[in-house]
């Protein structure tokens, strides 16, 4: 790396030192600006995930968020879910399964060209509340459903 070469070839000036530190800080902070940081994915507690995802914005339960999931899932390894909404200005959509070891399942960052209507399939270890989060620039909307799992999806 160019920076490394410069840093090691001669003693650091004060300016270089500060510049380097600033550069390091900004790279370290970058993931925190994304909707879901890696920390959110490794969190084991739903509240921690919600705190991380909402970034201080208020979370409001809303009928405008449409979360489709089966009431009873026979096979926890494949639970189809659909999240859609008519809310405008959607920046991202996330899906949380409360009782999974890591509750955050997936998050999607949308550009204006993407329609807020996504379907995919998740694994569920056991019966759980499933939450869909839809984030706009000033608020996080949430919908939840309880899904009963008859055969767990983890440990097959």
């Amino acid at each position: 790396m160019e920076l490394n070469k410069r840093l090691f070839s001669r003693p650091l000036s004060r300016r270089q030192c500060i510049g380097g530190l600033l550069a390091l800080c900004s790279t370290a902070l970058l993931p925190a600006r994304l909707f879901a940081s890696t920390a959110a994915f490794s969190a084991t507690d739903t509240q921690a995930v919600l705190d991380d995802l909402s970034e201080g914005l208020p979370i409001e339960e809303s009928d405008a968020v449409n979360l489709k999931a089966p009431d009873i899932a026979e096979n926890g390894a494949v639970v189809p879910v659909t999240v859609s909404t008519d809310i405008s200005g959607v920046e991202s959509i996330a899906l949380i399964v409360d009782e999974n070891p890591n509750p955050l399942s997936a998050s999607f960052t949308l550009t204006p060209d993407a329609v807020a209507d996504i379907s995919f399939r998740v694994k569920m270890g056991k019966s759980s509340t499933v939450r869909a989060l839809v984030k706009t620039s000033d608020k996080v909307y949430m919908a939840r459903r309880d899904v009963k799992v008859t055969i767990g999806g983890c440990g097959g």
Binding site: F41, N102, S105, A106, S107, F108, D113, V115, R121
Partner: protein
């Protein structure tokens, strides 16, 4: 070597409805094999969806997305001839991609 993403796109008006299937084990890292050894985690972390090389949507996934992930989504302002492309990267930095031309 990763097998190919199956991707289908259908244009209805200016909205493209896209469905895709990525053959991938999506191992959680918590399962054990017959000998009781932990099967190492291998799961897709990032999925990027493009329209004509412009990012439309990015997905960050955890281990709890199902094996052989299926994803359906829609893209606005599309016309015949536009190319919808998907790229994925897993936690072991293996990658794969697929694309479909709308008609």
């Amino acid at each position: 070597m990763a097998s190919k993403v199956k991707i289908r796109g259908k244009l209805s008006g200016t909205v493209a409805k896209v469905k895709l299937l990525i053959p991938h084990p999506m191992e959680t890292g918590t399962r054990r094999d017959a000998d009781g050894k932990v099967i190492p985690a291998k799961y897709i972390e990032t999925v990027t969806l493009y329209k004509n090389d412009q990012v439309v949507m990015t997905g960050n996934w955890g281990q709890s997305v199902s094996k052989d992930p299926y994803l359906s989504f829609q893209v606005n302002n599309c016309a015949a001839g536009d190319v919808i492309k998907v790229d994925w990267v897993d936690n072991l930095k293996e990658t794969g991609s697929g694309e479909v031309t709308l008609k």
